[in-house]
C-alpha cells in the first residue's frame, strides 16, 4: 500500500482537497460581496444621505441621522478610548516590565475577547441606570471599552519599536523623561499608533450589539447627548428584520455605505503602516 504511485496519488488528492476547501471558504465571501454591491448600488440615492427614515408604510427616506449618530458615537468613544489606550501603553512600554504590566497586558487581551453584548450590559448598569435613560454617552462608553484594548496593544507594540538610543539622546540633552516620552518616543511611533487607532475605529464603526441597550437608536435627530441616538448598524439591524421591502432596500444601502467606510479606514491604516515601514 505504500508504493510510490500510491503516495504520489495521495499527494495529488490531498492537494486537490485543500484547493477545494479554499474555494469553499471563498464562495460565501464572493456571494456576500456581490449581494452588498448589487443591492446596495440599486438602492442608494441622494436621499439616503440627507433624509431620516420615513414612518412605516411610506417609501423613500434615508439614514442621515444614523450616519451623523455613528460619527458622534465614534467621536465620543475616541475621546475616552484613545487617551486611556495610549497612556496605558506608555506605562507598559516605558515604565512597566514587572508582573503588574503582565497583568495589564493579560487583562487587555481578555477584554478584547469578551462578547461585545456583555460590554453593552456593563455600560447599561454603569450609565443607563444611574442616568435614568438611554443615551449617546452610554453608547459611546460601551464602544470605548471595545476600543481600549486594541489601541493599547498596538500602541505598545509601536512604542517598543522606537530605538532606546533615541530616548537616551533626548534625556542626555536634559529633556525630562515625560517630555521625552511625549515629544520623542510617542512622536516617532505616531504613524504606527495612527494605524492602531484607525483599526479600532473601523472595528467599532460596525458594532451593533453594545448599542442595543445603551444608545438604543432613534427615528429622528437627537438634540442632546443624554438622549437616545441613531446609529447606522442599529438601523441596518432593525430594517433588516422588518417585513417591508422598502426598509430592506435601505438596509442594503446602509450595508454598502458601512462596508465602504470600513474598507476606507483599513486602507488608510495600511497606508500609515507602510509609511512607517519605509520610515525605518
Amino acid at each position: 500500500m505504500n508504493s510510490l504511485a500510491w503516495r504520489k496519488g495521495k499527494n495529488v488528492g490531498m492537494t486537490l482537497l485543500l484547493a477545494i476547501f479554499t474555494l469553499a471558504v471563498l464562495i460565501p465571501l464572493v456571494l456576500i460581496f456581490v449581494h452588498i454591491i448589487k443591492m446596495g448600488f440599486s438602492s442608494i440615492n441622494f436621499d439616503f444621505f440627507v433624509q431620516i427614515p420615513r414612518p412605516t408604510g411610506e417609501t423613500g427616506g434615508g439614514m442621515a441621522n444614523g450616519l451623523a449618530g455613528s460619527a458622534m458615537l465614534i467621536f465620543l468613544a475616541s475621546l475616552f478610548g484613545i487617551p486611556v489606550g495610549i497612556f496605558g501603553a506608555i506605562y507598559l512600554s516605558e515604565y512597566g516590565g514587572g508582573s503588574f504590566s503582565n497583568l495589564i497586558r493579560f487583562s487587555a487581551d481578555v477584554l478584547s475577547g469578551i462578547p461585545s453584548i456583555i460590554t453593552g450590559m456593563v455600560a447599561y448598569t454603569l450609565l443607563v441606570v444611574p442616568m435614568k435613560g438611554f443615551s449617546a454617552l452610554a453608547g459611546a462608553f460601551a464602544l470605548a471599552l471595545i476600543m481600549i484594548p486594541i489601541v493599547l496593544r498596538t500602541t505598545e507594540e509601536q512604542l517598543k519599536l522606537v530605538p532606546g538610543t533615541l530616548r537616551e539622546a533626548s534625556l542626555a540633552l536634559g529633556v525630562p523623561l515625560w517630555r521625552t516620552t511625549l515629544k520623542v518616543t510617542l512622536r516617532s511611533a505616531l504613524t504606527g499608533v495612527m494605524t492602531g487607532i484607525l483599526l479600532a475605529i473601523a472595528r467599532i464603526a460596525g458594532e451593533t450589539a453594545p448599542l442595543l441597550f445603551t444608545a438604543l437608536g432613534n427615528q429622528f435627530w437627537s438634540r442632546s447627548l443624554t438622549e437616545p441616538i441613531a446609529a447606522m448598524p442599529l438601523q441596518i439591524f432593525s430594517f433588516a428584520i422588518s417585513p417591508y421591502d422598502d426598509w430592506h432596500r435601505l438596509a442594503w444601502a446602509g450595508a454598502l455605505v458601512l462596508v465602504t467606510i470600513m474598507f476606507g479606514l483599513s486602507l488608510a491604516a495600511r497606508y500609515f503602516g507602510r509609511r512607517r515601514q519605509q520610515g525605518n
Binding site: 476547501f21 507598559l92 495589564i104 487583562s107 487587555a108 475577547g113 462578547p115 525630562p176 515625560w178 442594503w252
Partner: protein, 332 residues
C-alpha cells in the same frame, strides 16, 4: 542588583537617568505626575475587567438567590409567571457553536495550509487578504445577508432536500422554516473561518524551515511533509485557534439573532428554530418586564462572560506555547 539582560533599555533609562534628575525639583514633579497618569490609565484596564465581573455578579444576584443552580437546568422562560431557566439558550449556544466549528475547522486549517504551503506566493497572498476582508465585515451585515438571502435559500432548496433524503433522522425532521438552527450554524461557520484561518496561518509560518526541509530530504511528498512536519509541530497552536473561534462563535450576537428564529425550545432537529444566550439578551434586555427578568438576563450574561473568559485564557496559552517556540527555533 541582578543585571537583567532581557531589558537593557529599561535599566539604562529608568534606573540610571531618573535618579539623576531629582536634583531638578521642578522636573522631577513633572515626571512624577506623568508617571502617575500612565499608571492610572494602565490600571483602568484591569479595573474595567474587574468591574465587569463584579457588576454583573451583583446585578444577577436576585435571579441566583431565587433559582439557584436550577437556573441552568430549568427549561421554563416565562416573563409573565416570573419563572426563568436558561437551558434552552445554553443548548442553542452549544449546538450552534459546536456544529459551526466542526464545519469550519477542516475548511480553515485546509485553507491555511493551502495559503502557506501549496499555492504560489502571489495566489496565497490574494487569498489571505480576501479572508482578512471576510473578518472585517460587521456581524450585522452577515445577519442582513443571512436573513434576506441565505435563509430563504435554505428554506427553498437545502432544507427540503435534507428533509426528503435524511428526514428519517431526528436531526433533519420537521417543516423547513428557513430561519433555523441550521441557518445559525452556517452563518457562524462563515464568520469563524477567517479567525481560525488567519491564526493557523501564523502558526504554520512559525514551523521551522529546517523541519520541513528535513522531511523533504527524507523523500516525503509535499502532503507527507505537511502531515509529519507541519501539523504535529503546530498542533497545540491550531487547537488554540479553534478554541478562540469557539469563543467568538459563542459570543456572536447580531448575525445569529437575525437568522436563528428566536424560539426558546430544545429540539433535536436542526431545521427547527432555536435561541442562544446572546440572542435572548439582545432581544429582551432593553424591555425587561421586571427586576427579576432583568436579573435573569444578567445571569445569562454572567454565564456567557465566565465561559468566554475561560475559553480565551485557554486559547491564548495554547497559541503562546507555539509562537514562543518560533523565536527559540529561529535563534538556532
Amino acid at each position: 542588583m541582578a543585571h537583567d539582560k532581557t531589558d537593557l533599555r529599561e535599566e539604562s533609562v529608568l534606573q540610571q537617568i531618573e535618579p539623576r534628575t531629582w536634583v531638578l525639583k521642578k522636573r522631577l514633579s513633572g515626571d512624577g505626575v506623568f508617571r502617575g497618569i500612565t499608571v492610572l490609565f494602565a490600571f483602568s484596564v484591569l479595573a474595567i475587567l474587574l468591574m465587569m465581573v463584579a457588576g454583573m455578579w451583583k446585578e444577577s444576584l436576585p435571579a441566583f438567590s431565587k433559582f439557584g443552580w436550577r437556573f441552568i437546568t430549568g427549561r421554563d422562560w416565562d416573563a409573565v409567571q416570573g419563572s426563568f431557566g436558561a437551558l434552552a439558550f445554553i443548548w442553542g449556544s452549544v449546538i450552534s457553536s459546536i456544529f459551526a466549528l466542526l464545519l469550519a475547522t477542516p475548511l480553515s486549517v485546509g485553507t491555511a495550509i493551502f495559503i502557506t504551503e501549496i499555492a504560489p506566493k502571489k495566489v496565497g497572498g490574494v487569498v489571505a487578504s480576501l479572508v482578512e476582508l471576510l473578518a472585517a465585515i460587521p456581524s450585522v451585515i452577515y445577519g442582513l445577508w443571512g436573513v434576506l438571502v441565505m435563509a430563504p435559500w435554505l428554506q427553498r432548496t437545502v432544507e427540503p432536500f435534507l428533509a426528503d433524503h435524511l428526514g428519517f433522522l431526528p436531526f433533519f425532521s420537521g417543516a423547513p422554516y428557513g430561519v433555523s438552527m441550521l441557518a445559525a450554524i452556517f452563518i457562524l461557520m462563515i464568520m469563524v473561518v477567517p479567525i481560525i484561518t488567519s491564526i493557523t496561518k501564523e502558526i504554520i509560518l512559525a514551523v521551522p524551515q529546517s523541519q520541513k526541509e528535513a522531511a523533504i530530504a527524507l523523500g516525503a511528498t509535499r502532503w507527507e511533509m505537511i502531515r509529519v512536519a507541519v501539523l504535529p509541530y503546530g498542533k497545540s497552536g491550531i487547537l488554540g485557534a479553534v478554541i478562540l473561534g469557539l469563543g467568538r462563535a459563542i459570543g456572536e450576537t447580531m448575525a445569529v439573532t437575525m437568522v436563528i428564529g428566536n424560539t426558546p425550545q430544545i429540539s433535536m432537529s436542526l431545521l427547527a428554530p432555536g435561541y442562544t444566550m446572546p440572542s435572548v439578551i439582545a432581544n429582551e434586555f432593553a424591555e425587561a418586564s421586571s427586576n427579576l427578568h432583568a436579573a435573569a438576563l444578567m445571569e445569562i450574561g454572567l454565564i456567557l462572560l465566565v465561559v468566554t473568559l475561560i475559553i480565551n485564557i485557554l486559547a491564548r496559552l495554547l497559541i503562546w506555547s507555539v509562537t514562543r517556540g518560533e523565536r527559540r527555533g529561529s535563534a538556532i
